[in-house]
């Protein structure tokens, strides 16, 4: 394993731990701790394709490690999505709002928790297929997933 990937793994599990620590106590049904266990045997780094479509039509095509959340992908690949992930995956900001296609939304293995829905309710441009990127974990099944990143301004006001 190269030094770089060691560093990445370490920093990853750190961020999961951080999240676990700050949320484990308050949210009993917190989902993102799942990758904590799946991430470790995952050092083979199975990769899948993932595309973010920004509100201005720009497409960011990237690779995601299976077991990573969309937020991890944005951070680890240094994707230029402005302001994304302000609270670092602790379910307190909703800057990681994404909109999925109905069929993708339906095939996500986990439904949104109450706490995720609470945060989504603050987002502009909320749709029936909205989710928070920090709560979506990439699986092999989701290879080729395409998500939309809505604009973060209130259309009514602009």
């Amino acid at each position: 394993m190269s030094l770089k990937s060691i560093f990445r793994t370490v920093s990853n599990s750190r961020s999961y731990l951080l999240r676990y620590k700050s949320l484990g106590a308050s949210f009993s049904n917190y989902r993102s701790i799942v990758p904590l266990s799946t991430n470790i045997p995952n050092l083979k780094e199975e990769k899948v394709k993932l595309t973010f479509v920004l509100y201005d039509g720009k497409r960011i095509e990237t690779e995601a490690k299976v077991g990573d959340t969309l937020l991890d992908v944005v951070v680890n690949n240094n994707l230029n999505i402005e302001g994304y992930g302000a609270c670092e995956g602790t379910l307190t900001c909703s800057t990681c709002h994404v909109i999925l296609k109905q069929e993708d939304f339906d095939r996500l293995p986990e439904e949104a928790s109450d706490e995720e829905r609470d945060m989504l309710d603050l987002a502009y441009g909320l749709t029936d297929t909205s989710r928070l990127g920090c709560q979506i974990t990439m699986t092999k099944d989701l290879d080729g997933l395409e998500v939309q990143v809505p604009e973060t301004i209130n259309d009514a006001r602009s």
Binding site: S22, E82, R117, T152
Partner: protein
């Protein structure tokens, strides 16, 4: 190639690139988000963040509750912005005191005002300045270490208190006072607040709103958190919810989920019945009540006279409340007022709206004075432009939007007379003082606070005086 072509080419090669100079006033969320966008999107830009306090982050540091450290993670993104080579932070520089708006406009191509909404709104009722009536914003400043509020007199010796207003700040304050003290000890709440709160005798907090459950301003996450508090019971008044369950199905999703959560909590309360328990604290939201007078005995607050309201208007979101003629008295020994904020005009040139915001069009400040075109253009973002509403997410959206407008303007900037930027401003500020705190100075304060916290098992112990901040920064 002919001579003129050659000449232009030589000029192009030898001319220095255009350096647009932008100053941002106020290093809170709006200021940092705008700097983030501008630094990424305008080549060669020079951005100076000027901040009144020696420390950055505005309400992220002094507003966000200490038991919500996750919300403050955004500081990590802001720190990256501040470390960008084209961005500078200058703390302890106050617009309206150390430097004037006109001076900034002379030395920058663009000036973005993001100095927030510092002042709290008053009710304007009788006895409002009596003891034990406190602005929630000062109370928040007190537990968060805001220098001006560190000596606030907080008397928690009474059993019952009231919070006037039903927004998220009201819920933050209630939660801090209702949380088990051991939970607070692990946060960066100031030591002086922790001491007084740990002696608190408050058992019962009323949360008083003018309008009904369908109009509350708090959001669902904050309510859910309160409902889940250990050793605390929320008690609603059944009559406040008359007709609500019939309407709830027609509401938009966020309002619907929030209202359903209140109804569910009310239902659980009815099923459980009332059990008096010495160990419990009580959180009691009441609706349709407006304070009309504070009642005083021995110069101290003893209660609040409330007028009972009914709603008039067609749709729930623009319904107004009017008194129905009845009045009620509520006994309490402490009242926190949390009915909103307004911004203050720090410079006489600024035009304010009646809502207490700077008049603007998508962030461009509406400026009637016919200044010479040499002056930098004026913009506003954050609470100063939008009014004190919404969370960081909404402030972010607004700041990006304004920054985008600025980018377009800066692209066509005629930079025939380059501006002096902070080198000129420094000369002006130095006439008043030479204690400008740069990012390195803040990092020293930051490290010091974290060290002080470690000794007490807290993530941070904030320095609560400007004097001491400056001492540490210039050590």
């Amino acid at each position: 190639m002919n001579r003129t072509h050659l000449k232009t080419m030589i000029r192009m090669l030898s001319s220095v690139p255009v350096v647009p100079r932008v100053s941002i006033i106020g290093a809170g969320a709006a200021g940092f988000y705008a700097a983030m966008h501008l630094s990424k999107n305008v080549a060669n830009i020079q951005i100076d963040l000027l901040e009144k306090l020696p420390v950055p982050f505005g309400l992220i540091r002094y507003g966000v509750a200490p038991d919500h450290p996750e919300v403050k993670n955004v500081i990590n993104q802001f720190t990256k912005v501040a470390q960008h080579p084209n961005v500078n932070f200058y703390g302890n520089v106050t617009l309206g005191k150390d430097v004037s708006l006109n001076q900034l406009r002379q030395h920058y191509d663009a000036v973005l005002l993001c100095y927030g909404a510092d002042e709290d709104k008053a009710l304007g009722i009788e006895n409002e300045d009596a003891q034990n009536i406190i602005a929630a914003r000062n109370f928040v400043g007190w537990y968060n270490g805001f220098p001006n509020d560190k000596d606030l007199k907080v008397d928690l010796s009474g059993h019952t208190m009231a919070i006037l207003g039903q927004g998220n700040v009201a819920l933050d304050v209630a939660r801090i006072l209702l949380s088990p003290i051991d939970e607070l000890k692990k946060t960066d709440i100031t030591e002086h607040a922790l001491e007084i709160i740990s002696e608190s005798k408050v058992k019962e907090i009323y949360l008083i709103g003018r309008r009904g459950p369908l109009q509350v301003a708090f959001t669902i996450k904050e309510l859910r958190e309160l409902l889940k508090l250990k050793n605390c019971k929320t008690l609603w008044r059944e009559q406040d919810f008359k007709g609500v369950s019939e309407i709830v199905g027609n509401l938009g999703r966020p309002r619907k989920r929030l209202t359903e959560l209140m109804l569910k909590s009310l239902q659980e309360q009815n099923q459980e019945g009332f059990i008096a328990d010495q160990g419990l604290k009580y959180f009691k939201p009441i609706f349709f009540r407006s304070p009309i007078k504070f009642l005083i005995s021995d110069k101290k607050l003893s209660g609040i006279k409330l007028s009972c309201n009914k709603l008039v208007g067609d749709t729930f979101d623009d319904q107004r409340c009017v008194p129905n003629g009845e009045v009620e008295e509520l006994d309490c020994s402490l009242a926190l007022r949390s009915i909103g904020y307004k911004s203050i005009p720090v410079d006489k040139e600024l035009i304010f709206t009646s809502y207490g915001t700077i008049a603007n069009n998508k962030g461009i400040i509406i400026d009637n004075s016919c200044h010479s075109t040499d002056l930098g253009k004026l913009y506003v973002a954050g609470w100063l432009g939008t009014g004190p509403i919404g969370v960081i997410l909404h402030t972010m959206g607004n700041a990006f939007q304004v920054a985008k407008v600025m980018c377009e303007d800066l692209k066509i900037l005629n930079n025939s007379k380059p501006k002096g930027g902070f080198e000129e401003i420094r000369k002006i500020v130095t006439e008043k003082h030479n204690l400008i705190v740069d990012w390195h100075g803040w990092e020293k304060i930051n490290r010091y606070e974290i060290e002080q916290g470690k000794m007490k098992g807290k993530p941070r112990e904030k320095i609560c005086t400007i004097q001491e901040m400056l001492e540490v920064a210039f050590r």
